[in-house]
Point group: C2
Chain length 315, copies 2
């Protein structure tokens, strides 16, 4: 799947992933009205509204981008109905030829991570039958529990030819609270050799990645926020064969010129996410002229602008 | 809810939580047959089997224990159907008067953590209506993203009088890979002052906890594995007002005598989880005499033994 992703990025000249992170505030009023008229102000009503909203966006941008990244929390908040909308969103995006990165940030002890890996990327045995729960192509994984918690994902990725992005340095303001703390080497008490935790995690990702090569790139990638380009530069060197999934572009503050450090010399190796900046573009002054009825056209215009901003920023 | 939990623990003299982490391997053959006959070897068939299995265990042990901890991954692996079984398990346990700790290990950037907090502990707004997705009393939270990722849970806990357990030192073998790494103080390069990451996270938990007192205890707790009693002792001191949720007892290797360091002088402050050791007790030699038909009686016997083992271990 990492090869498919790489080829798509090359072909479309767009290292872009659109974050399908719908909230009720983003969904145009007329779509909410329609869903509530049919299902009431219920979880089902909300789920139907976000699914319809997603489909509009996907239809409008699927020829421009290689991948989407639905954030499962935004669906999970609407309970079972929300998760059905998540599942349908995944299926719809795959129908449209998009690579789907499930932003699930799961991670647990070994046997439990195995269940998560199976849930999102693999197959679960029921009697003598193999079944599939959710069916993303990639998933994001939290490394706090160590190798135990990541290896089951790697195992399923090998079997299924899928991939993961491990959280290394996240885009949020307080990511440094633990991730930036300076860590001593295992075999030394020399404070001059202390390095931030995210580098230690990055090195582990590089080890895992080296054992999981697709073609040019590994199917074990990393998440590094656009909001920290200096750190991105170092992490790019530490994990040369890993794709870096870069959140934090746009609404969170990152811009095209911040992105160069995340890419390799070949112009590959990173894929930049924008969520709100695309899917709620129509709520920004810049794209207000589209109006909420044409929210999907606004999203398309925002993708084209983002593509250009990145092209200029990294060239 | 932390007061309810504390009172229940005192009344039942059982600082015990039963982990409802069903896998198909644990479910008795006759229950699987029954579910598959009705629903086939499908996700629905699996979900119905684990729900029936859970109900048997809950019925058998609910008068002995204050709380259960369903591990959501074990349900998520069966997709939507599995998550329906999770939801029904939560509801059933609450009907039976049990406190429900959702072992969800979620954690993300602020706005996303808010969605998770709402999904599991709070209410989501749909139009002018407030709706609830899943409805646990407590949830486990991953701290890797820092305060941003935890504060939204704390906010919802305040509103809903619920609580969280933050992962500090997990029970798995590789938990030390990142959690044990020695971290320099923020304001010093003195290697002699370096301390393990789990202590740094523990201190943060203690800060959050101090601002969120229920009665004697805070509703911000921590997860510290039974497999690391020495670290438990230090973390107990660092977080005096936090309940420690202790996984890793039983099947993962922890025993009653390892548990003392996790408790305060008042005999409170910790709640010990056992999953497989209870719910699949009938598969152990010690409880084999019960047979799979009486798997729930075996679970009850295992709870009683665990209660005694802890009583002896911590007294």
């Amino acid at each position: 799947m990492i090869n498919t992703l790489t080829e798509k990025i090359k072909k479309l000249e767009a290292p872009i992933v659109v974050g399908l992170d719908p909230t009720m505030k983003f969904v145009p009023e007329y779509m909410k009205k329609q869903a509530f008229a049919e299902y009431g102000e219920t979880l089902k009503g909300a789920a139907e509204a976000i699914l319809a909203y997603n489909k509009g966006i996907v239809d409008a941008v699927c020829d421009l981008i290689p991948a989407v990244k639905p954030q499962i929390a935004m669906y999970e908040q609407f309970g079972i109905e929300g998760l059905i909308a998540f599942q349908k969103t995944v299926a719809y995006c795959k129908e449209k030829g998009l690579v789907v990165i499930g932003d699930i940030k799961r991670g647990d002890i070994g046997s439990t991570s195995e269940a998560y890996a199976v849930a999102h990327l693999g197959q679960v045995q029921v009697g003598n039958t193999m079944c599939r729960g959710f069916e993303e192509d990639f998933a994001t994984v939290n490394p706090y529990l160590g190798s135990d918690g990541v290896q089951p994902f790697i195992k399923v990725c090998k079997e299924e030819k899928k991939g993961i992005f491990v959280l290394v340095k996240t885009s949020n303001p307080s990511s440094g609270e633990f991730q930036d703390r300076l860590v001593l080497p295992k075999d030394s008490r020399d404070a001059a050799k202390a390095r931030p935790l995210y580098e230690i995690v990055g090195e582990k990702v590089a080890q895992w990645a080296a054992e999981c090569m697709g073609g040019e790139y590994s199917y074990i990638g990393a998440v590094v926020g656009a909001t920290y380009p200096e750190m991105g530069k170092i992490l790019r060197q530490i994990m040369p064969k890993s794709y870096i999934l870069v959140p934090g572009y746009g609404a969170q503050g990152g811009s095209g010129k911040d992105l160069k450090p995340f890419f390799n010399e070949d112009g590959l190796g990173a894929i930049v996410n924008s969520s709100r900046g695309i899917i709620a573009a129509y709520q920004q002054e810049k794209y207000a002229k589209y109006g909420e009825e044409n929210y999907a056209d606004a999203a398309r215009a925002a993708v084209l602008d983002m593509k250009e901003d990145i092209r200029t920023g990294i060239s």
